[in-house]
């Protein structure tokens, strides 16, 4: 069976399960709205400083929402003992990993669809295609890394503690480049195209590395 078909089957299964249980997305969307609200009340926001504060709040909310979304991808499989059943098939572990990462990314993108208009509403920042593109491009690489570490920590008891410890340091490049891209898209100094190029480079690098590592993580 082609790896693409396996990945699609896995992603479809995860999305169907989420659609029926509504376990992750409503909670994450609520978390994101609350994080934006707290940011809004916690800072003295006015028209002059909104564009410099909003990107920071955006990435903070996104990072923590991502940790929850990616953490659940493999934790749920472990809890219901279904990961082993899936890995006992001849399907490629890399394709299984890709399917799970794709589904988790889509769930996070749904949350981002709530977050970006809400950010604009609460902070009065411009809601542009450039901001959306920066967040989406960063999501790809963050999802690959987040799912890899979620797969690694899923078999240990302190996974909720370990996942941020392992993932956050490697997400820093995305936060730095993504933050710069969003800031320049909101009118602050900085080159948008350079930041986006950097994000794409990180995406490629981490997609290659995680697909190489996924086989060993899931196989053993």
């Amino acid at each position: 069976m082609s790896p693409l078909r396996v990945a699609l089957a896995v992603a479809r299964k995860d999305l169907r399960s989420e659609w029926r249980t509504r376990e992750v997305v409503p909670a994450l969307a609520q978390f994101i709205i609350l994080a934006l609200l707290i940011g809004n009340f916690g800072f003295q926001i006015d028209s002059r400083n909104a564009t410099s504060i909003a990107p920071g709040i955006l990435w903070l909310a996104l990072v923590f929402a991502g940790l929850v979304a990616f953490g659940r991808t493999f934790a749920a499989e472990r809890e219901q003992a279904s990961l082993e059943a899936m890995l006992m098939t001849p399907a490629s572990p890399v394709a299984i990993f890709a399917g799970k990462a794709a589904a988790a990314s889509l769930l996070l993108i749904v949350c981002e669809a709530v977050m970006l208009p809400a950010l604009s509403l609460f902070f009065g920042t411009p809601f542009s295609a450039q901001v959306v593109a920066a967040v989406l491009i960063a999501t790809v690489g963050m999802a690959a890394l987040g799912c890899l570490f979620a797969a690694i920590v899923a078999r240990v008891r302190a996974r909720e503690l370990l996942l941020p410890l392992l993932t956050l340091p490697l997400w820093i490049p995305f936060i730095v480049a993504g933050g710069q891209a969003v800031q320049s898209a909101m009118g602050l100094p900085g080159s948008y195209s350079e930041s986006i190029s950097l994000l794409i480079d990180f995406d490629i690098l981490f997609l290659v590395l995680t697909s190489l590592a996924a086989r060993f993580v899931l196989d053993e």
Partner: protein
Amino acid sequence: MSMLVGDGLTHRFGSEPAIDNVDLVLDTGEHMAVLGDNGAGKTTLLRILATALRPTSGKLTIAGLDAFRERRRIRHYLGYVAHAPGLYPALSARENLEFFCDLQDVDRSRVAEAMETVGLASVSHRRAAELSRGMQQRLAIGRAILHDPRLLILDEPDASLGADAADLLAGLMRGRTAVLATHDHALANRLCPRTLVLRHGRSLGTATHLRVVR
């Protein structure tokens, strides 16, 4: 011809051996029961035989192939029923099997046949979470036979199956090589001409069913 050959299979969790130097040979079409008390190492041995767990030392050959080097190839003709059903609770019984058809690369038309075999045809639309423990176990068995495997590894499949467990398992094992771990000596006697007894991870040897003693 030997379907399954285990040579000096050992697995340690830390310094404790869960399985210690177990040898076994199973010919094509042969059925063998694995008996032993709780903690004797039955599940560890079966996970190794199913290629789900790599032994610390020892060699496993399935159908003449190195089981761990050719793991993906072997899984085309190996069916494994694990201790836990491992189903997706939000998916229906049918959807669970259809998903595994996609992963096994077999036609989805196999689902109806598997459902019929395990006696779940009438509840195929129900979500796995709504099924009783016994039905979930049947569904897990149905998943293991979707690709019509030549070798079945069954880890206490009778645990919650009910009165017709022996008939169901006998039907599944017919024409296949099978290893069955169970606590039920009567079931082992009925389904398996040979028995391997484990104690503290060590094999006490194999015997015909008439000679099995605890």
